[in-house]
């Protein structure tokens, strides 16, 4: 059984228009804010990482037919099953987010940066090629960038490696870079008429190969 993300949409054929939305139009059903709040509150319990949550959502079989908050709901239900939190007896002791700590927890966030234990292997301006093979687990290298040649635009720092964190393998931090691609490299020369377009992704060091 190979891992399949249903959420990796960049560059896929889609002729539907993008429908603008008024500022302040946040929810479209009464249950949606409840799902938002439940997801945030459960995320704060530490039962899973944000990368595990993304993996749970992107592997929902019916992802394409679900609304955003339906995806969050399905992801939350899946995470609860996977973590054993609802089992009898539960595998985890509840550590609820108390109302008194909500403001602090939101204001603090969860920084992904970690101390470096060595220098970055790539430098700004350097040409790189993105890895071609698709790993059999959650990853953050979009399909449209696989095998493509780009250049390092920014050395961001050392960050928790999403692929490892999503699999419950710990943080395994790596250098993270902004890698920029010409549109012609991604889509072919015919796809980028007129003025130039540049697209960048943020990529961990193990996504990159030396050209």
């Amino acid at each position: 059984m190979s891992y399949r993300s249903n959420a990796d949409l960049g560059g896929r054929p889609d002729s539907r228009p993008v429908i603008p939305e008024r500022e302040g139009e946040l929810f479209h059903a009464d249950w949606e804010p409840r799902v938002l709040a439940l997801s945030l509150a459960m995320g704060a319990t530490g039962l899973w990482t944000i990368d595990m949550a993304r993996a749970a959502r992107e592997t929902l079989d019916d992802y394409a037919s679900l609304s955003y908050y339906e995806i969050w709901l399905g992801g939350l239900e899946k995470l609860l099953r996977q973590s054993g939190a609802m089992a009898e007896p539960p595998t985890a002791r509840p550590r609820p987010l108390a109302a008194a700590f909500v403001a602090d927890v939101l204001a603090r966030g969860s920084p992904a940066s970690r101390p470096a234990d060595g220098p970055p292997h790539f430098a700004v301006g350097q040409a790189v090629k993105m890895r071609t093979e698709r790993p059999d687990h959650h990853t953050r290298l979009p399909n449209y960038a696989r095998g493509k040649r780009g250049r390092i635009e920014r050395v961001i720092g050392v960050h928790v490696f999403a692929d490892a964190s999503a699999q419950g393998l710990g943080e395994r931090p790596q250098w993270l870079y902004t890698v920029a691609f010409d549109a012609a490299e991604l889509w072919g020369a015919a796809a980028a008429p007129g003025a130039t377009v540049t697209v960048s992704v943020d990529a961990w060091e193990s996504y990159l190969e030396i050209v």
Binding site: P17, E23, L26, A41, G109, A112, P142, G157, H159, D202
Partner: protein, 216 residues
């Protein structure tokens, strides 16, 4: 009255105060919430506070303040471009989904656009919750390949010579677009300037509003 054919017990006396008919999704969410509260994983008061926070306290007016300050104050703009996380924190906006901020500035030559093709990553502390279109398949699929077509959906037509720079938020870095300051805004105060900064202009699918002309 039930006519949606599910087999749940009558759900209208559970203290939520809604006596009308519930959809299957509402029943599912209420059941989940009840179970999580009962197991002790969730404090109901925290849920209400989380919702209130994103409905009334954290939204795109925060980002508009950041942009207006950058328009008025060259030192702040330089700081924002050099260390956006710190510059934005100096105005009191920090935290969840904004831990690592990068600000990118529109110029007469370059127009920036932000997307998350892999999910819906978005700078919450300064823009709040993402709009539906930002999370939608058409935006995430098309914007990296046909940015001008997507911009036309928003009524934005850029000069053919303008370079378009798209930032796909694939890790934990979040991007803020600093839109170009509109002409005719020299006389405006910082809060008046903030009123010209739309949410979409800070994602790149819009431009800042043009101020009404001064009547001499």
């Amino acid at each position: 009255m039930h006519d949606h054919g599910d087999s749940h017990d009558e759900p209208s006396h559970d203290g939520h105060g809604d006596r009308s008919e519930l959809t299957p999704l509402e029943i599912r969410v209420r059941a989940l919430e009840s179970a999580l509260v009962e197991k002790g994983y969730v404090d109901p008061a925290a849920l209400d506070l989380l919702i209130d926070t994103y409905q009334t306290r954290i939204g795109p007016r925060n980002g508009a303040q950041v942009v207006a300050r950058a328009w008025r104050d060259a030192d702040f703009r330089a700081w924002l471009k050099r260390d956006a996380t710190a510059a934005i924190a100096s105005l009191g906006f920090t935290g969840r989904q904004g831990e690592h901020m990068v600000a990118v500035e529109n110029t007469p030559e370059v127009h920036n656009l932000v997307v998350c093709t892999l999910c819906s990553c978005y700078p919450w502390p300064i823009l709040g919750l993402p709009p539906t279109w930002y999370k939608s398949a058409p935006y995430r699929s098309r914007v990296v390949r046909d940015p001008r077509g997507v911009l036309r959906d928003f009524g934005v037509e850029l000069p053919e010579t303008m370079h378009i720079r798209i930032w796909d938020s694939t890790a934990e870095v979040r991007y803020l677009v600093i839109p170009m300051r509109p002409a005719g805004s020299v006389h405006l105060s910082e809060s008046e300037l903030a009123g010209l900064v739309t949410r979409d202009s800070m994602i790149g699918t819009g431009l800042a509003l043009t101020p009404p002309p001064l009547i001499a």
